[in-house]
């Protein structure tokens, strides 16, 4: 009898442990919530949970850590940062679905607004208020308008539900010293100028451009946008048929790039980040990439690397001009179930304006959000491109929306720029 009782107890205990384990999150969040509720008037004594897309060790994470401490000192509000890194795309949704207390989270503007849109709190009203660091103006008046509009247009029901920060734009990032040595005085604006500049760079003993597997689809997307325009390019993706006659033109133009030795001989076999390492090593002049590139390769490139940027050149008369570029940002979102929306928003304002906006941009060689902030010197030219952008390309001009199309571009473009396919072979293979 005693043993039976024992075994029964053991079973119960195990059940309790398992259930306890499963229910832990909920119980915890309840306790935290009630703790917060009772002190909700004393706004300074609140603990916010922030699921971060950064790792604590990267420049953005380090800066946010410091900002959190400064925020606590200034407002008394504690921000408990849960460093998820890029794993957040796997971990956030289960955590939110499980009812864990998360007040703030962040990721790419499209992922936060589209994939996680249903968890977002509408922040239109909060953004209309003025804060310590906004000089008596609404937040939306002091930060980059283009990006606020982007966040609003992607937000659920067209409502501003996220606040962008760490903006980025996609353009040709280049080594100004190589351009100078090759005698190039102005960045190319058309395909003819581009080819002429490539010839000069080649003559100066350097490789004009490289690419790697991660960015081939972006290159193809941009080039097609310049040949036939954004809408027709996106239509090909929607129809899942890369069959526009201009694909052949693309093939011819990049076949010429290959034949003249303008693209790195390693491009076809470059596995990310091999392409950008070629740029860092000073052998390759140009690379179509994001404004985050100077930060990404700062450890392998010389400290005085002379960065320049220009928009991908205009190509065909039916295509977009240099005013069409991809741009985006990371975005802070607030959980719609939060008990501390005001406090959470206060922290977001703290991060996107004033001292910490500038510091974040400086430390990550990134773009600041506030209109009056200065951009890092590596991105001086990028600012001009960004300001002149009037048409926004989606990421890779849609070429990565469908994994099949992306894979097809990667295979065939690599074959094209290694001479295994000619222009016609490329266009035919893309049609299949």
């Amino acid at each position: 009898m005693k043993k039976k009782l024992c075994s029964l107890m053991a079973v119960l205990l195990t059940c309790a442990m398992i259930l306890g384990g499963c229910g832990g999150g909920a119980a915890e969040s309840k306790a935290a919530a009630s703790g917060g509720e009772s002190k909700s008037d004393a706004k300074s004594d609140v603990t916010l949970t922030y699921y971060s897309m950064w790792n604590e060790t990267e420049p953005q994470g380090q800066t946010i850590s410091e900002a959190v401490a400064a925020f606590k000192e200034k407002t008394g509000i504690t921000v408990d940062v849960n460093w998820q890194g890029r794993d957040i795309r796997k971990t956030l949704q289960p955590a939110l679905d499980g009812g864990q207390q998360i007040d703030i989270f962040d990721e790419d503007v499209e992922r936060v607004n589209k994939t996680w849109g249903k968890y977002l709190l509408d922040v239109e009203d909060l953004a209309k208020k003025s804060y310590d660091t906004t000089n008596g103006k609404p937040l939306t008046d002091v930060i980059n308008k283009q990006l606020v509009e982007l966040a609003r247009s992607l937000g659920p029901d067209g409502k501003l539900s996220t606040i962008p920060y760490q903006p980025s734009s996609f353009m040709v990032m280049y080594n100004k010293d190589i351009f100078k040595a090759a005698g190039i005085t102005a960045a190319p604006k058309t395909w003819e100028e581009w080819l002429a500049d490539c010839a000069k760079i080649k003559a100066a003993g350097k490789t004009p451009i490289t690419v790697d597997d991660a960015y081939m689809a972006s290159l193809f997307g941009y080039h097609m946008g310049r040949l036939i325009g954004k809408d027709k390019t996106l239509a090909m993706v929607n129809n899942k048929k890369i069959d526009d006659p201009a694909v052949l033109t693309f093939g011819q133009q990049w076949q010429e790039m290959y034949q003249k030795g303008y693209i790195s001989k390693n491009a076809a076999g470059n596995i990310y980040p091999a392409g950008q390492q070629e740029v860092a090593s000073g052998n390759v002049a140009m690379y179509l990439n994001g404004t985050w590139l100077p930060n990404e390769i700062k450890n392998s490139a010389p400290a005085d690397f002379n960065w320049g940027s220009f928009a991908y050149p205009a190509i065909g008369k039916d295509g977009d001009g240099t005013n069409a570029n991809q741009y985006g940002a990371q975005c802070f979102g607030i959980n719609k179930n939060t008990k501390h929306a005001e406090e959470a928003f206060k922290f977001i304002v703290f991060m996107t304006t004033g001292e910490w906006d500038t510091k974040l941009a400086e430390n990550s060689i990134g773009v600041p959000m506030a209109n009056d902030a200065t951009w890092p010197k590596q991105l001086t030219e990028a600012k001009e491109v960004f300001s002149a952008t009037t048409i926004r390309y989606p990421w890779a001009v849609g070429m990565e929306d469908v994994a099949d199309i992306n894979a097809k571009i990667k295979t065939n473009f690599a074959l094209l720029v290694s001479g295994k396919l000619d222009a016609k072979g490329f266009a035919d293979a893309m049609k299949k």
């Binding site: 949704q93 289960p94 679905d97 091999a274 992306n406 894979a407 990667k410 074959l415």
Partner: protein, 303 residues
Amino acid sequence: MKTKNKSMIIFFLAPSLILYLAIFLYPTVRTIVMSFFKVEGVTDSISQWKFNGFGNFQTLFNTPLFMSSLHNIAMIWLVGGIGVMLVSLLFGVILTSGVHGKSFFRSVIYLPNVISAVAMGTMWINYVYNPDFGLFSSVLKGIGLSGQANTQWTGPEMVFWSMLIAYCFGMVGYHMLIWMSGIERIPVDYYEAATIEGANVFQRFSRITLPLLKGVCRTNIVLWTVSTMAFFVWSQLFSPVNLSASTVTPMSYMYELVFGASNSAVTVRDSGAGAAIGVILTLVVVAVFMISQLIVKNDDVEL
């Protein structure tokens, strides 16, 4: 006595049984059910699931990238399997034949298993396959084959084979140990008797070692199947940001379907299809296990 036993059985089994049910059986059943539904996010509540019949499976089999992944995994299993089994058996036989420095060589061959696959992958990609300063390119240049030295080992034509070689390199040691344990169980008397009768080394291998290794062979095939079906890390290493037709495997495709792509936030997510891939892989493993049971019959020999 009987009742005592029962309570003891319950006492010892209950914790693991409950854990098994909660941690293995529940997700397994959920995945199987999910594979018949249209589900976007893996944690979406069941009320958001839409019944889709065999739709997920149909979609998958009409997706070129999934078909590439099946083709890749079949080649990894077959070509890699034959290569790894032969090389590891060869090493196993050599090391059990009484060579000097057995434990040293055993450790050296097993070593790649101890090193993280990510470190191994980085080594292969950067120090072996690099077209400028990699091992292959330097060696080929050194022996005067400059044409071959310019091969893009990680270009679209070669990357699959490069990945396979790198993967198999790490797997040989593991299977070698299993072969060795099997060979060492065979009584030495057999070999002594055969040697006295005049059998040479090849005869001893084909008439004694091989027939007595049937069970071990089956174990190796099943273990190889299980580990190749889970082929994921190497696929990610050779296409770190988004999927390529030459390196995609069902697991890496499943990962992208369930969690989305890392570069592009708008790549379509489809956890239902992801679950369907899981179901397909399970069926493949079970089928291979059954076939290997049929082909390699249990050895009746009592050692």
